[in-house]
């Protein structure tokens, strides 16, 4: 193994890791937003919204994320959507994560005992108040861990945007392989940096989960 080379390229990988982190954070924010809206749609009392929510989830989960990114980035201009690679990456991955998060959030909400809803409604609370003060606080605790799993998957999925040439970790590794012919070293650095990002995120999720349980 060429440790010397690894040391020399490491600062550039750190910069790329920063891009991966920013990409992950933005994707997670957009994903959570889509997940909340998606879950609200799927649980709506309006059939049309339920249909839209279900269609969103099944289209996204039924196709490869890479194809979704390609459609957005390469196909977008054809239908008048001009995005640079980073924007396409965030939006594509965010919409993708949102579909999985929709199911996570919905799953946590429908797990709450029907008796809770009945108790809230019989004291006179409205549907919205029941959701806000009784169902969501309980569902929130249940969804932290599975959302953590979604976020773990989303971080790993950011590697896909290398294919539309966003200069993040995977793309950077590929670029240095082109000039150094040392794929083992380059992918090793990238892999270790991914692991650190994922480990720290996992710890943060576990901490949140513990905190939610204590309260």
């Amino acid at each position: 193994m060429d440790f010397d080379l690894m040391q020399r390229v490491f600062p550039f990988f750190l910069e790329a890791a920063w891009i991966t982190i920013i990409l992950s954070v933005l994707t997670a924010i957009l994903g959570l937003t889509c997940g909340i809206l998606g879950a609200a749609a799927r649980l709506s009392r309006f059939a049309l919204l339920r249909f839209v929510g279900a269609a969103y989830v099944s289209v996204i989960r039924g196709t490869p994320a890479l194809i979704q990114l390609f459609i957005l980035y390469f196909g977008g201009p054809q239908i008048g959507i001009q995005l640079d690679a980073f924007e396409a990456g965030v939006i594509g991955l965010g919409l993708n994560a949102g579909a999985y998060m929709t199911e996570t959030i919905r799953g946590a909400i429908i797990t709450i005992d029907k008796g809770q809803i009945e108790a809230a409604r019989t004291v006179g609370l409205s549907r919205l108040q029941t959701m806000r003060y009784v169902v969501l606080p309980q569902a929130m605790r249940l969804m932290i861990r599975p959302l953590g799993v979604n976020i773990n998957a989303l971080i790993k999925a950011t590697a896909l945007v290398a294919a539309i040439s966003v200069v993040e970790l995977t793309y950077t590794a590929q670029r240095y392989i082109g000039s150094t012919y040392k794929p083992f070293e380059m992918f090793l650095i990238a892999g270790i940096l991914y692991m650190i990002i994922i480990y720290v995120t996992g710890q943060a999720v576990a901490w949140l989960d513990r905190k939610a349980r204590i309260n």
């Binding site: 108790a119 019989t122 004291v123 006179g124 609370l125 108040q129 309980q138």
Partner: protein, 257 residues
């Protein structure tokens, strides 16, 4: 007393779940301050009838009235929601499995609805919670979470939660059925206290001696119909109907076994 206008009036209540007819033309009048027990075998429709009163299980036919208000009205969605939320504030309900809010302390379980619906301030709400919990003997557990309470204590808190909305009527659906035998009495005592305060109550129960002690009227239901109704001393001591006799005989045999 009997020709007084009923406080709760259930007329020709009919309820089907799909093709299964669960309530068949039920009529029930309850006067203000009256305590009515509903007894009958499991699956006879007792819960469904009780839950029709606050429209938790809306009837498929018939009418439910509280004083001069029709409860089970057909209205556009948002109007219905407004109407039913107001009606439900006047009708307290206690469930077999308590259904306390596990993420809230005892205090907040009691104050949630009054705060949201009656605009009580923090201090007013606390005072209310203390009063209601005192009444059910749970004041010293005001800062506990439901998971830290016994079943009997949970049920007493659930009663306090319902009373905090100052309801005109209380509905009890097998309030003591999920409790260990030694915890039943503490809940019964709270209900007896409410009876002494002339709370109007409809109680679905399997406890015949309790029903006999506190109720003014007993309904025996079987397969979706009221088979027999009358004062407790008649229903329990001298029932006319064979199905009532059979039910009580089996029930007593079960209890002594």
């Amino acid at each position: 007393m009997t020709d007084q206008k009923p406080f709760i009036d259930i007329r020709h209540a009919q309820k089907s779940f799909g093709t299964l007819e669960v309530l068949k033309d039920i009529n029930l009048q309850v006067q203000k301050g009256q305590i009515v027990a509903i007894i009958g075998p499991s699956g006879s429709g007792k819960s469904t009838l009780l839950r029709a009163i606050n429209d938790l299980d809306p009837l498929t036919g018939g009418e439910v009235w509280l004083e001069d208000k029709r409860i089970n009205k057909t209205l556009p969605h948002s109007q219905y929601e407004k109407h039913i939320n107001l009606v439900r504030q006047e009708i307290g309900m206690v469930f077999q499995h308590f259904n306390l809010f596990p993420h809230l302390k005892v205090r907040e379980n009691v104050t949630l609805a009054p705060k949201m619906l009656k605009g009580l301030s923090g201090t007013e709400a606390n005072k209310l919670a203390e009063e209601q919990l005192e009444k059910v003997g749970m004041l010293e557990r005001i800062d506990y979470y439901p998971s830290q309470l016994s079943g009997g204590q949970k049920q007493r808190v659930a009663i306090a939660r319902a009373l905090a909305m100052n309801p005109k009527v209380m509905l009890f659906d097998e309030a003591t059925s999920a409790l260990d035998p030694e915890l039943v009495e503490e809940v019964n005592l709270v209900m007896k206290k409410l009876a002494q305060e002339h709370m109007t109550m409809i109680i679905v129960t399997h406890e015949m001696s309790f029903a006999e002690a506190v109720c003014d009227k007993v309904l025996f239901m079987d397969q979706g119909v009221v088979v027999e109704e009358g004062p407790p001393e008649v229903i329990f001591r001298n029932p006319k109907n064979d199905r009532t006799k059979e039910f009580l005989r089996k029930h007593l045999a079960g209890q002594n076994a």
